[in-house]
Amino acid sequence: MQIPVKCGCGGCEEWAMVELQGSLDIQHATSLQNLSIGSLCRTSANKYKFVIGYHELEGTKVALKKPIAILKKIKHSDGMEIDPQLAATPVSVEMQVVGIIRHKLLFKTRPKALISKVEAKPKRMPTLLGH
């Protein structure tokens, strides 16, 4: 059996990959579609910050040692008229390259918990210096 692996249209375009050490915990949402994850910001030449929920992650842009091709499985039916009583239509499978990844944003440090500044009510700060 042979499965061809070839370039689909748009297959040479570069995708972005963001890698986080850890897992995303989805709260209060029934579906993932259109759910916001967080805010990605580039603070300097090779420093990136990713704020997810109340965590802040620090990362860098890393070039992959070897590029990664992103493949999608495509099934073709033979396109012929089929007699429903006969055996299933022969299906040919091919893998199509839909993109290439050469760099990733890698966040592998321990997340920093952010103190929320949302509280509008100012609190009385205890004095640290005695009179």
Partner: protein, 382 residues
């Protein structure tokens, strides 16, 4: 979106979210090096394997095993997008959107591996090629089972095109019509005999045979020109092209070793064990005049064993051994517990394992002992 994320300018930010098509596609990530990627994008590659095989990926010249490497990290994939969704957040700063279309829990890695060629021999040996010398013509309505075309072979053999071509050449296979065939041994012997007889009859030089003359002479015996040329290419080297009047004819130089080995194999197929002296006598008798058989030619095809005062010759062909190193060493040590390097070397010649030298394989699968500095090294199983 991808470009925005990758080329995010300093002091700017992007909102990352799950896209509206998140989870609808199943993507596979394949790690490739630049040359393979280039070939993939230009010509395409092929994954080959039967339902019971481990899948391999073939380029035009090499074969790779496909391994899955998983990760516990969270990997988000963001494709490029035509539309750049811009908006303004409360601070009045522009922001860009990046949509994650899928996550990945690992990727596929390629490890170069030897092609799986064992089934090629089995397939081709289903219908060894013979010619009907009585009738002369191949029957038109010959049944097609057991016959394989190039396309059939590329589908059924887990090897790249170049490796498949090399394997066919090593088997002395020939393409007759649409199908690749190996020639029946007895038929080939008969053909060689006629060539040698004709050489004597016409006073030809075996080192300088004129292809056209040979083809013509054998046509009278009903051998097809194609099979005659194939025979010459199996047992000889192409010399220069001879220009004679207006006709050009290729010249062939028959190779002593190949011809003598052919006759030796026939003797060994008749009887697997011979007293060395008797074998050498019979061998000299059957090989054509002008060719001197020597025991050196048998390396890789037969083993010499000393039992007391007598030497015995036994059929032991490298072509009957497994291709994978572990299996091959296991078979070799089953045949003989101890091997001297001189005897062992010819049986290691065609082992293909990318990235592993013969020395490394010896270290891995054998134990080397050397009783004294001057005696030969002995190899045993680990």
């Amino acid at each position: 979106m991808a470009a925005e994320v990758l080329n995010l300018k300093p002091a700017s930010s992007a909102t990352v979210s799950y896209g509206d098509a998140f989870g609808s596609e199943d993507f596979k990530l394949l790690e490739v090096d630049e040359p393979i990627l280039k070939e993939l994008l230009q010509d395409g590659l092929t994954i080959k394997g039967g339902p019971d095989d481990e899948a391999v990926l073939c380029t035009s010249a090499a074969t790779y095993a496909i391994k899955y490497v998983s990760t516990s990290n969270t990997v988000l994939l963001i494709p490029p997008s035509e539309k750049i969704t811009n908006g303004n957040n409360d601070d009045g700063m522009g922001f860009t959107m990046a949509q994650v279309v899928a996550t990945s829990s690992g990727h596929l890695e390629l490890v170069e591996t030897a092609p799986q060629l064992d089934n090629l021999k089995t397939l081709l040996n289903q219908r060894p090629y013979v010619e009907d010398l009585e009738g002369g013509q191949m029957q038109e309505d010959e049944p097609l089972e057991g016959l394989y075309s190039w396309d059939d072979l590329t589908t059924m053999v887990q090897a790249s095109d170049r490796q498949l071509k090399e394997a066919l050449k090593a088997l002395n296979a020939v393409q007759i019509g649409d199908y690749w065939r190996v020639v029946d041994e007895r038929f080939m012997q008969g053909l060689l005999e006629v060539i040698f007889l004709s050489a004597v009859q016409h006073d030809w030089d075996l080192k300088c045979l004129q292809e056209a003359a040979v083809v013509q002479a054998l046509k009278d015996d009903c051998y097809s020109p194609q099979i005659v040329r194939h025979c010459l290419s199996c047992y000889g080297k192409k010399g220069s092209t001879l220009l004679n009047d207006c006709k050009t004819s290729h010249l062939w130089e028959l190779d002593d070793t190949k011809v003598c080995l052919h006759y030796a194999k026939l003797l060994l197929h008749d009887s697997a064990k011979w007293k060395l002296e008797e074998f050498m006598k019979e061998w000299r008798r059957t090989t054509p005049a002008g060719m001197e058989p020597s025991i050196e030619m048998l390396r890789g095809e037969a083993l010499v064993e000393k039992l007391g005062p007598e030497s015995w010759l036994q059929l032991y062909s490298i072509s009957s051994l497994p291709t994978k190193p572990a299996d091959r060493f296991s078979a070799l040590f089953k045949e003989r517990a101890k091997w001297e390097w001189d005897d062992l070397e010819p049986y290691l010649r065609d082992m293909q394992t990318p990235g592993q030298s013969v020395e490394a394989m010896l270290l891995k699968y054998t134990r080397k002992t050397q009783p004294t500095a001057s005696s030969a090294a002995i190899y045993t199983a680990r």
